[in-house]
């Protein structure tokens, strides 16, 4: 009985870990969607770039003989965020801005093209094979007795803390700062906001930069958690995060967080109790099921049809 409970707790912990990183990536999708109504298909690739950038920093610092983990993590985080944000900015500038106001499928195709481009850019830069990184955060707390022990590894703890801090910082920024207010205004009504003197182009760029920075955080955390990266990890992660964003109601930031957690927990329970091959099938089926009853996601605003 106790063992079954501990097993349950373990799955829950694993699910929340993965789920919180999905949520970080999902915020990028949801913010961009909320403001310009497009699916940024290249967002998964931004996450992949974040993973690679942080690997480069970690490998570099380890070569220099620095072993104090907070310094490594901090440097990797900052560099990954800068690199990913630059990509986010550059993509918006080159591939999306010229297409603004066109039919909504046009930027979507451009985004898919960009995603193919970035994947192959990384293949060119770092090769198509897996890159493995030795774990830098090891150990954890085990609890419970008997045959099965539930473990909360320090890595998972770091993921929880970093995710929580980034999300808190984001919500403070969105709700308190001047730029955050501008973001919300543009999301509400782009035309009106620009009439009122908000530099909408700058706000849109900022949205991409914030989304990319959060994806880079997720890239660093998941990269260290799995210890492996290849140029194609962005697609499946992006797909999951997009699912999470839709699950929570696309356009809503709390929705993305909730959707990410639900998705992560569903996946880990499916893998733990049923079969890990079918975890994606179960999470997509869950998505269909939720959309059947709530067509705009869990926290999405219902669509009002105006004539």
């Amino acid at each position: 009985m106790l063992e079954a409970f501990l097993y349950f707790i373990q799955q829950l912990l694993n699910g929340l870990t993965i789920g919180s990183t999905y949520a970080l990536i999902a915020i990028g999708y949801t913010m961009v969607y909320g403001i310009i109504g497009m699916i940024n298909f290249a967002h998964g690739e931004i996450y992949m770039i974040g993973t690679y950038a942080s690997f480069v920093v970690i490998a570099g610092l380890t070569m220099l003989g620095i072993e104090y983990v907070p310094i490594i993590l901090g440097c990797a985080l900052i560099v990954a965020m800068i690199v990913s944000s630059s990509f986010g900015w550059a993509i918006e500038r080159t591939a999306y801005r010229p297409l603004r106001g066109k039919h909504r499928l046009i930027p979507l195709i451009s985004a898919i093209g960009m995603s193919i481009f970035l994947q192959n850019y990384m293949v060119l830069g770092q090769g198509a094979r897996d890159v493995a990184i030795p774990p830098i955060i090891t150990g954890g707390w085990s609890f419970g007795g008997g045959d099965f022990q539930a473990t909360l590894s320090y890595m998972q703890l770091v993921i929880f803390v970093v995710t929580f801090v980034s999300m808190y910082a984001l919500s403070e920024f969105i709700s308190k700062s001047r730029m955050g207010r501008a973001c919300r205004a543009v999301a509400e009504d782009l035309k009106m906001a620009s009439l009122l003197g908000i530099n909408t182009n700058r706000v849109i760029s900022l949205t991409f930069v914030i989304g990319a920075a959060l994806a880079a955080v997720a890239g660093l955390l998941l990269g260290l958690y799995y210890g492996i990266a290849n140029p194609h990890i962005g697609f499946i992660a992006g797909l999951k995060a997009f699912t999470a964003a839709v699950l929570g109601g696309i356009g809503s930031i709390p929705g993305a967080m909730l959707g990410g957690l639900i998705l992560g927990v569903t996946e880990s329970f499916t893998a733990g109790y049923f079969s890990s091959e079918y975890k994606d099938v179960v999470s997509f089926s869950l998505l269909v099921l939720i959309l059947l009853f709530r067509p705009t996601g869990l926290l999405g605003k219902p669509d009002v049809e105006k004539i």
């Binding site: 969607y33 699916i39 770039i49 690679y52 950038a53 480069v56 970690i58 490998a59 570099g60 380890t62 070569m63 800068i82 690199v83 630059s86 990509f87 900015w89 550059a90 080159t94 591939a95 297409l99 039919h103 499928l105 046009i106 930027p107 979507l108 195709i109 451009s110 898919i112 093209g113 960009m114 193919i116 481009f117 994947q119 192959n120 850019y121 293949v123 060119l124 830069g125 770092q126 890159v131 493995a132 990184i133 030795p134 797909l239 997009f242 699912t243 839709v246 696309i250 091959e277 079918y278 994606d280 099938v281 997509f284 998505l287 269909v288 959309l291 059947l292 067509p295 705009t296 996601g297």
Partner: protein
């Protein structure tokens, strides 16, 4: 000038940040640890060149752009075509179609075997593009998992021939029906969804089908796929060197000519032409039927459509079902042509390419879809000599084409009324 300089410095810095950490430093696995080392010197030269070019371009942006705008723009003949009135356009299209069909029929006897193969591939994409065009271009429903139906068609034929020994000609309609059935099944839950919610559900559906094909190893062979799928026959005549199935005859024996493997390639090509013509014909009729008009009406304005008493459910379901059926046909043919299929052939990237064909074609126009299918298949093939840059350029090409012609190659033009002199 000061502003330009700042902007130029900023973009140059950005170019450095996006290129140096990922292209300039190589991650090297050294035993159990990960180390970094500098990459080749030429890469650094290229990166420096790129940064300098970006800097100079942004610095002298106005003058460079003014030079470009003073050069007369290349007017494509496409403009002449799309300016024609609809009646002349129809007549022109009929003639054009006739010429294209004749060329397509004569063509395989003139060119090399590799080109025929490529042309067959183009025709498969034309079929897929035309099918997706019903869903996306005509009915305005965004489907990102179209490849699922293609997979259903392909696996239908592969499994039917493996387990029941059915021939291609029997399996073709069954494959279409199976795909249509799956389209119908998918259509139900997504009927209430709009726009991008639809996109993710269809995308998820495509992934579900792929995962199932990958994991139902006992039925589908899993990642190893299914091999030895028989090629189509012509009235019981096989195109191989020896008869594979009892009761069949051999093409070269019946006609008393020497065996040549090119016959098979040409036959497959002609079969594809036939299937494409069938697809074009059926869709052309459908568009002129009430159901086709209803698709377009639904795309233009759902509310108006409903208030006129049209049944939204039936319209959407029919678009999904019929669109899926064509993917099923294409899948059947694909399986027969390849002789081997695996879930590898049915990844999201295929859906993306098909969707790109529809959008690049101009959403709703059949001629456009055909042109775009040729462009999207032949260009990567031409870029094959660039090897590792091939997919890189393919991605870039998709972006550039959208920027260059966002309305598509041949946007469909439908009759509309406009108030004179009101702009």
């Amino acid at each position: 000038m000061q502003r330009n300089l700042n902007h130029a410095l900023f973009t140059a810095l950005m170019t450095f940040v996006v290129s140096f950490p990922l292209l300039g430093i190589d991650l090297v696995t050294d035993g159990s640890s990960l180390t970094i080392e500098a990459t080749s010197v030429t890469t650094y030269y290229y990166m420096t060149a790129a940064i300098v070019i970006v800097f100079l371009f942004q610095l002298f942006r106005e003058s460079i752009l003014s030079v470009f705008s003073s050069v007369p723009k290349l007017r494509l003949p496409i403009h002449l075509y799309s300016d024609l009135p609809q009646s002349r356009r129809n007549r022109f299209e009929n003639w054009f179609t006739l010429v294209v069909v004749i060329v397509a029929l004569v063509w395989p006897f003139v060119v090399s075997r590799g080109s025929i193969d490529l042309a067959t591939l183009v025709l498969i994409y034309v079929m897929l593009g035309l099918g997706l065009n019903i869903v996306v271009g005509l009915a305005g429903l965004l489907d990102l998992g179209y490849v699922a139906f293609y997979a259903v068609g392909a696996y239908s034929y592969a499994l039917l021939s493996e387990y029941f020994g059915l021939s291609f000609w029997v399996a073709l309609p069954i494959g279409g029906l199976m795909a249509a059935f799956f389209g119908f099944i998918l259509g139900f839950p997504v009927l209430r969804l709009r726009g991008d919610y639809l996109a993710i559900v269809t995308l998820g559906f495509g992934e579900i089908i792929r995962i199932l094909l990958n994991n139902l190893t006992s039925l589908t062979g899993g990642p190893n796929g299914i091999g030895g799928i028989p090629k189509p026959t012509l009235f019981g005549m096989e195109f191989g060197r020896r008869v594979k199935e009892e009761g069949n005859t051999l093409f070269h024996e019946v006609f008393g000519i020497a065996y040549d493997s090119t016959y098979k390639v040409i036959f497959l090509y002609l079969l594809a032409v036939l299937l494409v013509l069938f697809t074009i014909f059926v869709i052309r009729r459908l568009v002129r039927m009430p159901v086709g008009r209803a698709w377009e009406a639904l795309r233009e304005d759902e509310i108006a459509c409903r208030s006129l008493g049209l049944n939204r459910t039936i319209i959407k379901l029919s678009a999904f079902t019929i669109g899926a059926a064509f993917a099923g046909f294409a899948g059947c043919f694909f399986a027969a042509r390849q002789g081997f299929i695996s879930p590898e052939s049915f990844t999201f990237i295929e859906s993306a390419i098909i969707l790109a064909i529809v959008v690049l074609g101009g959403m709703g126009s059949q001629m456009g879809v055909i042109l775009a299918a040729i462009a999207m298949t032949v260009l990567p093939e031409l870029a094959r000599e660039f090897q590792e840059y091939r997919m890189l350029m393919f991605g870039l090409m998709m972006v550039l084409m959208m920027i260059w012609r966002p309305q598509g190659l041949l946007p469909s033009k439908r009759p509309h009324l406009e108030l004179a002199d009101v702009k």
